[in-house]
């Protein structure tokens, strides 16, 4: 048990060390000083606006990470979270911009619309997978492609805000229907908050999602069924788990969470769906889930790490180093993490087999 918890500390440290070393090499080849680079990254993080931005980004990465992880838990690779999140944000943005109900009700409706649309977009490949045996990875990739075209179409026709003929976006959501900022709390703590900095209240939503994720996975029958199907699908089926139903439901939850993640951008930052929306949020979620090993706390750590690299590397321009090194650091981190975890788990498995065979040999000798 102690050894196990030790490896859960050392493996991430090893991953981080190797990635730092590889990125340092990438920095050294063109002649940059890695220490200058890393200290510039850290420096850019240690400001109020730096910390707030990291929190805001981690919150949406976390929810997106959970969306992907819940699929991974039962060996379901939902690579379509990017399409699901954008379809959801488009419809939610259109709903939010055109409804004229009072604030909180409008917010609730927008969030529900987002989650339902995300779920529906994810359920289609789920159903195709169970009824027509269409591979879920391929199905969700196709749905991403369809989403990109459909969104472009809707954004220039049905849902477009025609008052603005420069950029294509949905109607702006009125101020009383947006999620509030948490800046007052920061001010209560005696911090001086720069004007353009807003601590998103979506951070609270992400915490709720995390708690629910933990509770559902480890404390409910449904969570047990998911884990069981992921570990050994045949055994789970034999013990009465309806695999087809599980796939469809899990895809629905995954898509709904992907839709929810987009609300961080829609209701806390952009207030309209359009060209300025992040294009890769769904794919970032996949990285977060992989890096976080699909565990509630691991995903949180991964989300914070990736968000920190993203925010921190913006400070590199000041010291004359291209900030794209941030993307390289993220990518290397992911590749190294995936490989290291695989090697570590295989070692553990071999060791367990050896120990088991030692025990049986010993018993025979007795």
């Amino acid at each position: 048990m102690i050894r196990r918890s030790l490896s859960s500390v050392t493996t991430p440290l090893l991953v981080f060390g190797i990635s730092m070393a590889l990125s340092s090499v990438a920095l050294l080849i063109p002649g940059y000083n890695p220490i200058t680079a890393f200290s510039a990254i850290v420096e850019n993080l240690l400001t109020v606006s730096g910390v707030v931005t990291v929190l805001n980004f981690s919150a949406r990465y976390y929810v997106m990470g959970v969306a992907v992880a819940i699929g991974f838990k039962m060996n379901l690779f939902n690579i379509g979270t990017n399409g699901q999140y954008q379809v959801a944000a488009l419809f939610a943005g259109a709903a939010g911009g055109s409804l004229s109900l009072s604030g909180p009700i409008n917010i609730a409706i927008v969030i529900v619309v987002a989650m339902v649309c995300g779920a529906l977009w994810a359920v289609i490949p789920g159903i195709l997978s169970v009824s027509r045996n269409v591979n879920i990875v391929v199905g969700t990739i196709m749905m991403n492609g369809i989403a990109a075209g459909l969104i472009g179409y809707f954004l220039r026709t049905w849902f477009r805000d025609f008052d603005d003929n420069l950029t294509a976006h949905t109607k702006t959501i009125p101020p009383d229907s947006r999620l509030p900022t948490l800046n007052p709390i920061l001010e209560l703590l005696g911090l001086e908050v720069p004007k353009s900095t807003n601590l998103h209240s979506f951070v609270l939503i992400s915490i709720i999602v995390g708690v629910l994720f933990y509770f559902v996975i480890f404390r409910t029958r449904f969570g047990f069924d998911i884990l069981a199907s992921g570990r050994n699908a045949a055994a789970a089926r034999a013990s009465g788990v309806d695999a087809r139903r599980m796939i469809v439901i899990t895809m629905a939850i995954s898509g709904a969470l992907a839709g929810l993640a987009g609300m961080s951008v829609l209701l806390n930052q952009a207030f309209e769906y359009g060209d300025r929306f992040p294009l890769q949020l769904g794919f970032t979620g996949i990285s977060v889930a992989l890096l976080g090993r699909n565990s509630p706390s691991g995903i949180a750590l991964a989300a914070i790490v990736l968000a920190s690299i993203e925010q921190g590397s913006r400070g590199l321009a000041v010291v004359g180093i291209p900030q794209e090194i941030g993307q390289i650091l993220q990518g290397t981190l992911l590749v190294v993490a995936v490989v290291t975890y695989e090697v570590a788990s295989r070692r553990a498995k071999t060791k367990a087999i050896q120990m088991a065979s030692n025990v049986s040999v010993g018993q025979v000798a007795l």
Partner: protein, 420 residues
């Protein structure tokens, strides 16, 4: 199955393919005549479709090679990105031939990384692919910042200009010149006559033989070459065995690990070659110019049932919509949608004949909806038509996933010495 039975079924499937091809051309011809849109099957449209199909087909062949060896390759997209960057850099330094070579080499690096992850370390194939897709744009952007930014014509997102290898027109068939002598344009004459089906087929052949870029021809020549290597050489047999049953192959002395490594490196270089085409086509490297072609290539692998000709046909079909969209005027696009509507209606009739009522009804409704849409618009939205390839792939998967036959062990974890 006895030998004669196999032969009979092969002839039957060839005959069926011919019938489907002929039907397709008749429908295209009907749509052309009804919508008065010669642009839908002109040699310009077909030429555009074939050219645009070349990079997608390369991604498809790359996917085919890797999946035939037993490794799923979602990282195609990332390898293509690396290929575009390599082609931009080497093309800038050494000209268009350098671009092709550089694209292949950089793509191969991506393939090697995928091999290291999946074959050597045994990481899940899809996960390694996603990681490569994430890493590649970062690497490309970082390198652009280092080597392109500040140079003449180069920026953080664009490379300095890269040339191309020019175009070629076949003499006699399509009116190419021999020296300074003009020859006849046989296919062009048939195409202009507007005859039912014949003019459309002439349009297709004209597209192949008139003004084809040398890069396109080089890429397309990979299709028969890959077929020969994978289906007619000892190496190809080992490659396919590694994808069907690696442990059996290993027990017969095949070095599965080496086979998969080499297949993935070749796969990466094919994807990179596709990226290089994009660079020489535009004349420079542009960040994001690969679009979704890597994923589209993955779709053609399935569409083409893991066969090179199928991959090529799939890519041409997918890019045909794109090429039609690029033609002048709205008639070609409308004619294409009309053709899709007629196809859906024909399938409905066929299903009725086969007494498959549910299928007949759904296709009837689909064709009705398409005709309704045509009636209500006067131009086809290009964003909507961009979704066609993905919808077609999904439909193919829905209706024929039972008839498709992927390599038996594709995507399964396997380590040397493992028994099934």
């Amino acid at each position: 199955m006895t030998k004669t039975k196999i032969a009979v079924s092969a002839i039957k499937s060839r005959r069926n393919a011919l019938i489907i091809l002929l039907l397709g051309f008749s429908i295209l011809s009907l749509a052309r005549i009804f919508a008065e849109a010669p642009g839908i099957s002109s040699s310009v449209t077909f030429g555009g479709a074939i050219a645009l199909a070349a990079p997608v087909a390369m991604a498809g062949l790359a996917g085919l090679l890797s999946e035939r060896a037993g490794v799923v390759n979602i990282g195609l997209q990332g390898m293509m990105v690396l290929g575009t960057w390599g082609a931009g850099y080497c093309g800038w330094q050494f000209g268009p031939w350098g671009a092709l070579l550089g694209g292949a080499v950089f793509g191969a690096l991506g393939g090697a990384l995928h091999a290291l992850n999946t074959v050597h370390f045994g990481v899940d194939h899809a996960i390694s692919g996603v990681a490569i897709n994430l890493l590649a744009p970062g690497v490309a952007r970082f390198l652009s910042g280092l080597l392109f930014a500040g140079k003449e014509g180069g920026t953080l997102t664009d490379s300095p200009p890269v040339g191309n290898l020019g175009k070629f027109t076949m003499p006699f068939l399509a009116g190419g010149r021999i020296g300074s002598i003009r020859t006849t344009d046989l296919l062009g004459g048939i195409e202009r006559s507007g005859w039912f089906v014949l003019a459309d087929v002439a349009g297709l052949l004209g597209g192949v033989f008139r003004g084809i870029a040398v890069e396109t021809a080089i890429l397309l020549s990979m299709v028969p070459m890959l077929w020969y290597v994978v289906w007619r050489t000892p190496y190809g047999l080992r490659l396919r065995a590694s994808g069907e049953k690696p442990s059996a192959a290993e027990s017969l002395g095949v070095n599965v690990v080496w086979t998969r490594w080499s297949a993935l490196i070749a796969s990466g270089s094919l994807a990179g070659l596709g990226g290089a085409w994009l660079v020489t086509n535009v004349g420079k490297y542009q960040q994001g110019q690969e679009g979704l072609r890597g994923f589209l290539g993955l779709a053609t692998v399935i569409f083409g049932n893991w066969k090179p000709v199928g991959v090529l046909l799939g890519s041409i079909l997918f890019q045909f919509t794109e090429s039609v969209r690029l033609q002048i005027g709205d008639e070609p696009s409308l004619a294409f949608v009309l053709a899709v509507g007629i196809s859906a209606f024909s399938v409905a009739v066929y299903r009725t004949y086969r007494k498959s009522w549910a299928g007949a009804a759904s296709f009837l409704v689909a064709s009705f909806l398409i005709f309704l849409y045509l009636n209500s618009v006067d131009r086809v939205d290009d964003k909507l038509s961009a979704t066609f390839p993905y919808i077609i792939t999904l439909l193919v998967l829905i209706f024929s996933s039972r008839r498709l036959r992927p390599p038996a062990s594709v995507g399964l974890p396997w380590t040397r010495g493992q028994e099934d």
